[in-house]
C-alpha cells in the first residue's frame, strides 16, 4: 500500500468523480439523484483514502512523508512534488471529511443545478487537498489560488440576493493578496534557484529581502485568515454563500492563511517573522476584541458566526507567531477545532434557514420546544465555540494563551510582552460567551410564538448523519487531544528548528 501514490490518488479522485457526473444525462430529477449519489461515493472514497494517509503516516518522523515527485515544468526546475507532515495531514483529513458532510447536508436542500453544484464541490475537494499536499511553491500556488474559482462560483451561483456584491468583494480582497504572493514567489525562486518548499526553507534569505517578501506573503495570508482589518469580505461572503459554501469557507479556506504562515512565512523568513511578530500580535488582539464586540450587535445569524470566526482565528495567528511548541500546537489545534465547530455552526444555521428562509435572529425564538435534538446539537457547538473545557475549542485556546504568556520582550523594540497579549486574548473568552449565549437564547429559548415557526420540524436523519461526526470529533478532540497532537509533535519540532530557535516553552522572539 505504501508504494501507491496515495497523495495524488486522494487529490485527484474527486476530479474523476466530477468527470463522471459531467457525463450523466437524462431526466432532470434522475440526473440530480445520480449526481448526488456519485458525489457522495466519490467524497467517501476520498475520505477513506485520506484515512489511509493517516494510517501510513509515521508520527515519529518530523519530515515530509509519502513524498511523490515527478517532472512537471522541468526547464524551469518546477516539479510535481507532494508530501504531508503532521500539520498538513490533519488539514487534509479535515477537507475530505467536510466535503463528505456538505454533500450529505445539501442532499435535500439544493435542488437547482444539482449536477454543477456537486461538480463544483468535488473540484473544491481536489484543490483543498492539493494545497495542503503541495511541496512545490508553484504547485501550491496553483491549488491555493485555484480554490477561489469554485468558491467564487458557489457564492455567485447558489448564493443569496446580494451574491454578486459579495463574490466581487471576496475576489477583490483575495486578488490583491494573490498578486503580491505571486511576485514574492518569483523573487524567492530567483534568489534560491528552486521552487521546492523544503529547499526554499533551507535557504537563507538576506534580511533586507525578507522584510519585503514577508509583507508580500502577509498580504495574501492575512486576507485568507482573515486578520483585522482585512476581514470585511468574510461576513458578506458567508451571508450570501449557501450553507455548504459557508461550511467549506469557514472550515477549510480560512485555514489556508494560518497554514501559509506556518509553511512559508515562519520557516522561510524567520528574521522578518520575529520582526513583525509584535504587529501580528497587535492585529490579532484587535481582531479578537473588535470583532467580538461587533458580533455582539449582529442581527443576522451568519454574520454573527462570521465575525466570531475572525475572533477565533485571531487566536490562531497569535499561536503561530509565538514560535514555541505550545503556541504552534495550540494554533493548529485551534484551526482544526474551528474547522469543525464553525462548519457545524454554519450547518446549524443552514438547518433553520432551509425551513424558514430567514437568517434574522429576530425571526426565531423558542425552537427548543419543537426541535429538541437540534437544540441539543446547537448547544454543544455553542459551548465548543466559547471554548468549554472538554470540547475541542478549549484545547487550542488554552495552549495558545499559555504559549504566549511566557514570551518576554528581549528587545525594547517589542513593546507587547506576551502576558498582555494573553490578557487580551483571554477577554475573547468573556465576549465570546456573551454573543454566543445571547444568540442561543434568542433563537432556541423563550416561547415559540411566531406563526411561521409553528410547524417547524426537528432534524431529518440526513442532517443528524451530517452532524454526528462533528459532534464526536469535537468531543474527542476535547477529551483526548493527544490523538491529534502526538502526530504533530515531531513536525512542529521540525518547524521550530527551521525557525531556528527551539526553546522549552519560553522562546524569546528576537530582533533580526
Amino acid at each position: 500500500m505504501s508504494d501507491w501514490p496515495l497523495l495524488s490518488l486522494t487529490t485527484f479522485l474527486p476530479l474523476v468523480g466530477a468527470a463522471f457526473i459531467l457525463f450523466i444525462r437524462g431526466e432532470a430529477a434522475i440526473v440530480a439523484q445520480n449526481a448526488r449519489a456519485v458525489a457522495l461515493w466519490t467524497a467517501l472514497a476520498t475520505f477513506a483514502l485520506s484515512l489511509m494517509i493517516w494510517a501510513n503516516f509515521d508520527p515519529a518522523q518530523g519530515g515530509y512523508q509519502l513524498v511523490e515527485q515527478a517532472a512537471w515544468l522541468e526547464p524551469l526546475g518546477i516539479r510535481y512534488h507532494m508530501g504531508v507532515d503532521g500539520i498538513s495531514l490533519w488539514l487534509v483529513l479535515l477537507s475530505t471529511l467536510l466535503t463528505v458532510l456538505v454533500v450529505v447536508g445539501s442532499w435535500y436542500s439544493v435542488t437547482e443545478r444539482v449536477k454543477e453544484y456537486m461538480i463544483t464541490f468535488l473540484i473544491m475537494d481536489t484543490l483543498m487537498v492539493g494545497t495542503f499536499c503541495a511541496l512545490d511553491i508553484v504547485l501550491f500556488y496553483v491549488f491555493f489560488e485555484g480554490i477561489l474559482i469554485p468558491m467564487y462560483l458557489i457564492i455567485g451561483i447558489w448564493g443569496g440576493p446580494r451574491r454578486i456584491y459579495s463574490a466581487f468583494k471576496f475576489f477583490l480582497y483575495t486578488l490583491a493578496g494573490s498578486v503580491l504572493f505571486l511576485v514574492a514567489i518569483v523573487v524567492m525562486a530567483r534568489e534560491a534557484g528552486t521552487t521546492s518548499i523544503p529547499e526554499l526553507t533551507r535557504h537563507d534569505f538576506p534580511v533586507a529581502m525578507q522584510t519585503w517578501l514577508w509583507l508580500a506573503l502577509f498580504a495574501s495570508f492575512a486576507v485568507k485568515v482573515p486578520m483585522w482589518p482585512f476581514h470585511t469580505w468574510l461576513p458578506d461572503a458567508h451571508v450570501e454563500a449557501p450553507t455548504a459554501g459557508s461550511v467549506l469557507l469557514a472550515g477549510v479556506l480560512l485555514k489556508l492563511g494560518g497554514y501559509g504562515f506556518l509553511r512559508f512565512s515562519l520557516p522561510m523568513l524567520p528574521e522578518a517573522s520575529a520582526y513583525f511578530a509584535p504587529m501580528v500580535f497587535a492585529l490579532s488582539i484587535v481582531a479578537i476584541v473588535y470583532t467580538s464586540l461587533v458580533a455582539l450587535v449582529q442581527t443576522d445569524m451568519k454574520k454573527l458566526i462570521a465575525y466570531s470566526s475572525v475572533a477565533h482565528m485571531g487566536i490562531v495567528t497569535i499561536g503561530c507567531f509565538t514560535a514555541n511548541s505550545l503556541g504552534l500546537t495550540g494554533a493548529i489545534v485551534q484551526m482544526l477545532s474551528h474547522g469543525l465547530v464553525s462548519a457545524a455552526l454554519f450547518m446549524v444555521v443552514g438547518v433553520v434557514y432551509d425551513r424558514i428562509h430567514s437568517r434574522e435572529i429576530a425571526a426565531y425564538g423558542g425552537l427548543a420546544e419543537r426541535m429538541p435534538i437540534y437544540a441539543t446539537i446547537f448547544m454543544l457547538f455553542m459551548l465548543a465555540s466559547v471554548g468549554l473545557p472538554g470540547t475541542s475549542g478549549f484545547v487550542g485556546e488554552i495552549l495558545v494563551i499559555v504559549g504566549i504568556f511566557g514570551i518576554t520582550p528581549e528587545s525594547p523594540a517589542i513593546p507587547a510582552a506576551g502576558s498582555w497579549v494573553a490578557l487580551f486574548a483571554a477577554t475573547g473568552m468573556i465576549l465570546g460567551a456573551a454573543y454566543m449565549l445571547w444568540l442561543y437564547r434568542r433563537v432556541i429559548f423563550g416561547v415559540l410564538e411566531k406563526s411561521a415557526l409553528a410547524g417547524i420540524k426537528d432534524l431529518r436523519p440526513n442532517e443528524i448523519l451530517a452532524f454526528a461526526p462533528l459532534v464526536l470529533l469535537v468531543l474527542l478532540m476535547g477529551i483526548y487531544p493527544s490523538l491529534f497532537t502526538d502526530p504533530m509533535a515531531a513536525s512542529i519540532d521540525r518547524v521550530l528548528a527551521e525557525i531556528g530557535a527551539v526553546g522549552p516553552g519560553r522562546l524569546a522572539l528576537q530582533m533580526p
Binding site: P229, T232, V297, I401, S419, R441, G505
Partner: protein
C-alpha cells in the same frame, strides 16, 4: 476503583437520562440517576472511613493534553481535603436528587432535569478531585455550564434565560482570571500539576516576575489571579451579582448548586492552594478584606428582600464571605469546616423554602405568606433547625464553625484581621436578624396569602420531607463530628492543607479572651431578639423604620445598585462600541476606502465591468483563471530565462 465509581456514576446517570430520557420515561430517568447517585454517595461515605488522614494518592484516568513540558492528564487526586469534599458533594447531591423526585413531579421535562443535575454532580466531583489546574478548570467551567443549564431550565421564562446568561458571563469574568493564573503558574513552575507546584512553591517565594508591564511577586500574583476565579464562582463582592438572580432555577438547584456545593468551589480552591497562599501574605490580605466585606454587604441586602429564596441567596453569599476570610486569616481548616456545615444547613434551608413554595402553589414573596407553622409542621420544624444552625445557636453545626472563624479572625496576625472580625460580628447580628425575619414572616402571625391559596396548603410528600430530615440531622451533628478538622496541629488534614511555620492561628484561636468567644452568641441573640421585636411583637415597626431611613432602605433594597452600575459601565458601552466598530469601522472606513472604493473606481471604468454586475460570473471566473495562468507562465519564463 472506588473513586472511579464515585466520580463517574453520576456521569453515567446524566448520559443515560439525557440521551435516552424519552425512552426511559420520567420514572426510569429518576430511578437511573438517583440510583447511581446512591452508589456514588455510598462510595463517598466509604471513602471517609478509608482515606481521611491518609497521604495523598492519585488515580490515573486518561492522557489529556501533552505538549512539550505542558503535561496534563485526567486523574483523580485523593487526599483528606478531596475526601471531605467528595463526601459533601455526593451526599448532599444524593438527597437533593431524591427530593427532586417530589419537587419536579409535575414538570414536563423530568429526564432533562435529572440529567443536568447528575451532570453537575459529576463536574463538581471532577473539580474537587482534580490533580492539576487544568482539570480543576474543566470542573470549574463544567459546573458553570450545568448551573447555566439549570438556572435556565424553565427556558420559556425571559427572566430565567437572562439569569442563566448572567451567571455564565459573570463566571467567565472570574474564569478569565483563573485562565491567566494557569498560564502564570506554568510560566513560573513549568508545570501545572499540584504536586510540582506545592513542592516547589517555597523555592519560588519572593521571586518576581515581569508580567503585565510590572514586576510583581510571582506567588502573590498567582494567588490573586486564582482568587479572581474564586470570586466569580463563589459570588464575592463585585462578582456576586449573578447569584441572587440564579434563584430563577428550580429550588433543588438553588440548594445543590447555589448553596451547598458549586459556590463553595472558590473556597475549596483557596484551601487547596494553601501552600501557595501561605507564601503570599498580600494575597491573603486581599482575600480577607473581600471575604469580610462580602459577608457584611450581602447580609445588609438580605435584610430588605422579600423573595424567600433571595433572602437565602444573599445569606449564602454572606456565609461564603465568612469562609473566605477564614482562609484569609490563615484558618483554612475553619473555612472548609464551615463549608461542610453550611452545605448541610443551607441545603436544608433551601429545600425547606422549596417545600414552602410547593405548599403555597409557587408563591415566593414573603409578604404573601405568614401563619404557615401549623399547616406544614415538618417543614416548619426543619426550617427552624436550619435557621438555628445558620445563626450559630449553641450546639448546632453553625455554632462550631462560625465561632471558630470569628475566633480565628481575632487571633490572626493578618493585617486586616480585626476588620474581618468586626465586620464578621456585625454580619452575625444581621444574619440572625434576617433569618428570624424570614421565619417569622413565613410561618408566624396572620396569613397574608390569598385564602384560596391557603386552602391548598399541604405538607410535602415523604420523598421531599425525608431528605429534609436527613439534612437536619446533618445540620445538628456536623459540628460535633467535624470538630476534629480544627485540630490545632493541623495533623487531621495529613498535609492536604498546609500552614506556614509562622501560622499558629489554629492554636491561638483557642486562647482568645472569653468575651471574644461569647461575642458570636451574643450577636446571634441580639439579632434574633430584634427580629422577634420587629416581626412578632411590633409588626408595624419595620415599616416605620423603613420610612424613617428611606434612602438607606432604598439603597439596600436595590442591592447597592450593582446591577445598574454594571449595566452602565460594561453592558451598554460594549453594545455601543460594537455598533461603532461595525457601522463606523467596518462599513464606514474599511469598506468605504477598501473594496467598495476600488469597486466604484472600477465600475466607473466602463460597460464591460458593469456586465459583471449583471451576473456573468462564469466569464469572470474564467477570466480570472486565464489571467492566473498567463501571469504564472510569464513569470516562470522570466525565471527560466
Amino acid at each position: 476503583m472506588l473513586h472511579l465509581v464515585l466520580v463517574f456514576s453520576p456521569l453515567l446517570g446524566a448520559l443515560l437520562a439525557g440521551l435516552f430520557g424519552r425512552r426511559l420515561g420520567d420514572r426510569g430517568a429518576q430511578l437511573v440517576t438517583c440510583g447511581l447517585m446512591v452508589v456514588s454517595a455510598t462510595c463517598s461515605v466509604i471513602g471517609l472511613f478509608l482515606h481521611l488522614g491518609e497521604p495523598a494518592f492519585k488515580v490515573p484516568v486518561l492522557r489529556w493534553i501533552e505538549v512539550g513540558s505542558f503535561q496534563v492528564d485526567w486523574a483523580l487526586r485523593v487526599d483528606t481535603l478531596s475526601t471531605v469534599m467528595m463526601f459533601v458533594v455526593s451526599f448532599v447531591s444524593c438527597f437533593i436528587h431524591i427530593y427532586s423526585i417530589g419537587y419536579m413531579a409535575h414538570d414536563a421535562s423530568v429526564p432533562r432535569f435529572f440529567a443536568y443535575l447528575s451532570l453537575f454532580t459529576f463536574m463538581m466531583l471532577m473539580l474537587v478531585t482534580s490533580d492539576n489546574l487544568l482539570q480543576l478548570y474543566f470542573g470549574w467551567e463544567g459546573v458553570g455550564v450545568a448551573s447555566y443549564l439549570l438556572i435556565g431550565f424553565w427556558y420559556t421564562r425571559p427572566s430565567a434565560c437572562a439569569a442563566a446568561i448572567k451567571a455564565f458571563i459573570v463566571n467567565r469574568v472570574g474564569d478569565f482570571g483563573l485562565a491567566l493564573g494557569v498560564a502564570l503558574c506554568f510560566f513560573v513552575f513549568d508545570s501545572i500539576a499540584y504536586d510540582v507546584i506545592f513542592a516547589e512553591a517555597a523555592g519560588h517565594a519572593g521571586e518576581t516576575v515581569q508580567v503585565f508591564g510590572l514586576s510583581a511577586d510571582a506567588l502573590t500574583l498567582i494567588a490573586l489571579l486564582l482568587f479572581v476565579g474564586a470570586m466569580g464562582k463563589s459570588a464575592q463582592l463585585g462578582l456576586h451579582t449573578w447569584l441572587p438572580d440564579a434563584m430563577e432555577g428550580p429550588t433543588p438547584v438553588s440548594a445543590l448548586i447555589h448553596a451547598a456545593t458549586m459556590v463553595t468551589a472558590g473556597v475549596f480552591l483557596v484551601a487547596r492552594f494553601s501552600p501557595v497562599y501561605e507564601l503570599a501574605p498580600a494575597a491573603l490580605a486581599v482575600v480577607t478584606v473581600v471575604g469580610a466585606s462580602t459577608a457584611f454587604f450581602a447580609a445588609t441586602v438580605g435584610l430588605t428582600q422579600f423573595d424567600i429564596k433571595r433572602v437565602i441567596a444573599y445569606s449564602t453569599c454572606s456565609q461564603l464571605g465568612y469562609m473566605f476570610f477564614a482562609c484569609g486569616v490563615g484558618a483554612y481548616a475553619a473555612g472548609i469546616f464551615h463549608l461542610m456545615t453550611h452545605a448541610f444547613f443551607k441545603a436544608l434551608l433551601f429545600l425547606g423554602a422549596g417545600s414552602v413554595i410547593h405548599a403555597m402553589s409557587d408563591e415566593q414573596d414573603m409578604r404573601r405568606m405568614g401563619g404557615l407553622a401549623d399547616k406544614i409542621k415538618i417543614t416548619y420544624a426543619m426550617m427552624w433547625i436550619g435557621t438555628l444552625a445558620l445563626v450559630g445557636f449553641p450546639g448546632t453545626a453553625g455554632f462550631f464553625s462560625k465561632d471558630a472563624i470569628l475566633e480565628a479572625a481575632w487571633a490572626s496576625h493578618n493585617a486586616f484581621h480585626l476588620y474581618a472580625f468586626w465586620l464578621g460580628l456585625a454580619a452575625a447580628v444581621l444574619t440572625a436578624f434576617y433569618s428570624g425575619r424570614l421565619m417569622f414572616l413565613t410561618f408566624h402571625g396572620e396569613s397574608r396569602a390569598d385564602p384560596h391559596v391557603m386552602e391548598h396548603v399541604h405538607e410535602s410528600p415523604p420523598v421531599m420531607t425525608v431528605p429534609l430530615v436527613v439534612l437536619a440531622v446533618g445540620a445538628l451533628l456536623a459540628g460535633w463530628l467535624g470538630k476534629g478538622m480544627l485540630d490545632a496541629e493541623g495533623a487531621w488534614w495529613a498535609g492536604a492543607i498546609v500552614t506556614g511555620p509562622d501560622n499558629h492561628v489554629l492554636h491561638a484561636m483557642h486562647e482568645v479572651p472569653f468575651l471574644v468567644k461569647l461575642a458570636p452568641t451574643l450577636a446571634m441573640a441580639t439579632g434574633l431578639g430584634l427580629s422577634w421585636l420587629f416581626y412578632v411583637k411590633m409588626p408595624d415597626l419595620p415599616e416605620r423604620v423603613a420610612t424613617a431611613l428611606r434612602p438607606l432602605h432604598t439603597f439596600l433594597y436595590n442591592k447597592w445598585y450593582f446591577d445598574e452600575l454594571y449595566d452602565f459601565l460594561f453592558v451598554r458601552p460594549a453594545l455601543v462600541l460594537g455598533r461603532i466598530f461595525w457601522q463606523g469601522g467596518d462599513v464606514g472606513i474599511i469598506d468605504r476606502f477598501g473594496p467598495d472604493g476600488v469597486a466604484r473606481t472600477a465600475l466607473a471604468g466602463g460597460a464591460r465591468t458593469v456586465r459583471l454586475q449583471t451576473g456573468y460570473v462564469y466569464h469572470y471566473a474564467f477570466a480570472m483563471l486565464i489571467g492566473l495562468v498567463l501571469l504564472v507562465g510569464l513569470y516562470l519564463f522570466v525565471i527560466g530565462g
